[in-house]
């Protein structure tokens, strides 16, 4: 037997003996099945949760843009008073959703860029659908989100700007 073969054989024996000694002594134990089921469930919940969060925040961004209007002459107000954290959180939600998607087997078997584009488009379309369905108008009057809608949908800066007549219409 050559020196190299002998060295490899020794390494192999060391590995087998080392691992099996730990198995037999109970130093290493198999993690129970429920541990992995729980992990998968949490992962799925993470994906669903971040997707829902991203849809809601995208919808809220669309709603606020629609309400304040990105039209000519209003962009400066929109940028200065817009709650930037909402679209930032929406983008973070999408990014985390993509990160969760990457953990699934199908993600590498298909073209992941395509999956990402479909996911982002789905979130944006769902955001538009929620806004078009009139849910924002409902939530701004009823329910636990009313405060949030009133705070950012009725900002003082925007109202003041309209009161001064620069918006071309009177809100009072």
């Amino acid at each position: 037997m050559s020196e190299i073969n002998r060295k490899t054989k020794n390494e192999e024996l060391k590995i087998e003996d080392g691992v099996m000694a730990k198995v037999k002594s109970g130093e290493i134990k198999m993690k129970p099945k429920w541990y992995f089921v729980l992990g998968s469930l949490l992962s799925l919940m993470g994906l669903v949760g971040f997707s829902i969060g991203a849809v809601f925040l995208t919808n809220l961004t669309i709603f606020l843009i629609r309400k304040r209007g990105p039209g000519y002459g209003r962009l400066d107000i929109l940028l200065s008073s817009f709650p930037i954290w909402i679209p930032v959180l929406a983008i973070s939600g999408i990014a985390l959703g993509i990160w969760f998607l990457k953990k699934y087997d199908f993600s590498y078997k298909k073209n992941f860029i395509f999956i990402t584009v479909i996911f982002v488009l789905s979130v944006i379309i769902a955001g538009f659908v929620v806004d078009t369905a009139g849910l924002n108008d409902l939530w701004s009057h009823k329910g636990p989100l009313r405060g949030l809608y009133q705070r950012y949908g009725d900002q003082r800066g925007v109202l003041q700007w309209h009161r001064e007549g620069r918006g071309g219409m009177n809100l009072q």
């Binding site: 020196e3 190299i4 490899t8 390494e11 080392g18 691992v19 730990k22 037999k24 198999m30």
Partner: protein, 179 residues
């Protein structure tokens, strides 16, 4: 134990999970040589490769109940070794040199053995010059006899990308050999 030698990996895993944890030694026997070779391509150090393989067998045992027996055990264990090796490469951020400790055999047919060793050393030398990204699928395909599908499962990249990387690796290898 004799019976174990004739049955498939996935069936042995089922035995390890439910009946006899010592059957795991059969899995180690079947894979350690291949995995040592594979880890060595990635980290280019025999001792590091041995540590990686040992750690991978331990991780595989701990996570054995998460293994889906409808899938290939081979791809699963190679994936664990790949992850362990990549962790080590990232941790140490090193460019590993080839193992220069190869010694000459004092035994039979010195000339033939020398040619074989030189060829092996040449191949390893050439592979060392190719980035891991391309060298890994090439090694898996030509030296470990894995199919594109299996390489895709091990590296978690689409089958098309496996083909692209192998072709790219061949072109790089061709350029290196022509120098």
């Amino acid at each position: 134990m004799k019976k174990l030698k004739k049955i498939k990996d996935e069936e042995i895993i089922e035995i390890v999970r439910s009946e006899d944890k010592e059957a795991y030694s059969e899995i180690i026997k079947r894979y350690e040589k291949k995995l040592l070779r594979y880890a060595n391509y990635l980290v280019k150090d025999e001792h590091d490769a041995a540590d990686i393989v040992q750690e991978s067998f331990i991780k595989a045992y701990v996570k054995i109940k998460s293994f889906n027996k409808r899938k290939s055990f081979s791809s699963w264990i190679y994936r664990i070794v790949h992850n362990e090796a990549m962790n080590l490469v990232k941790r140490e951020k090193r460019k590993v040199k080839i193992d220069e400790k190869m010694e000459f055999d004092s035994g039979v047919d010195i000339e033939e053995d020398l040619i074989r060793k030189e060829l092996k050393l040449d191949t390893r030398n050439y592979l060392d010059q190719i980035p891991v990204k391309y060298c890994e699928p090439l090694s898996l395909f030509y030296l470990e006899d894995k199919s594109y599908e299996q390489i895709s499962d091990i590296l978690r990249i689409p089958v098309g990308t496996v083909g692209t990387r192998i072709n790219r690796a061949k072109k790089i290898l061709q350029k290196i050999c022509q120098k």
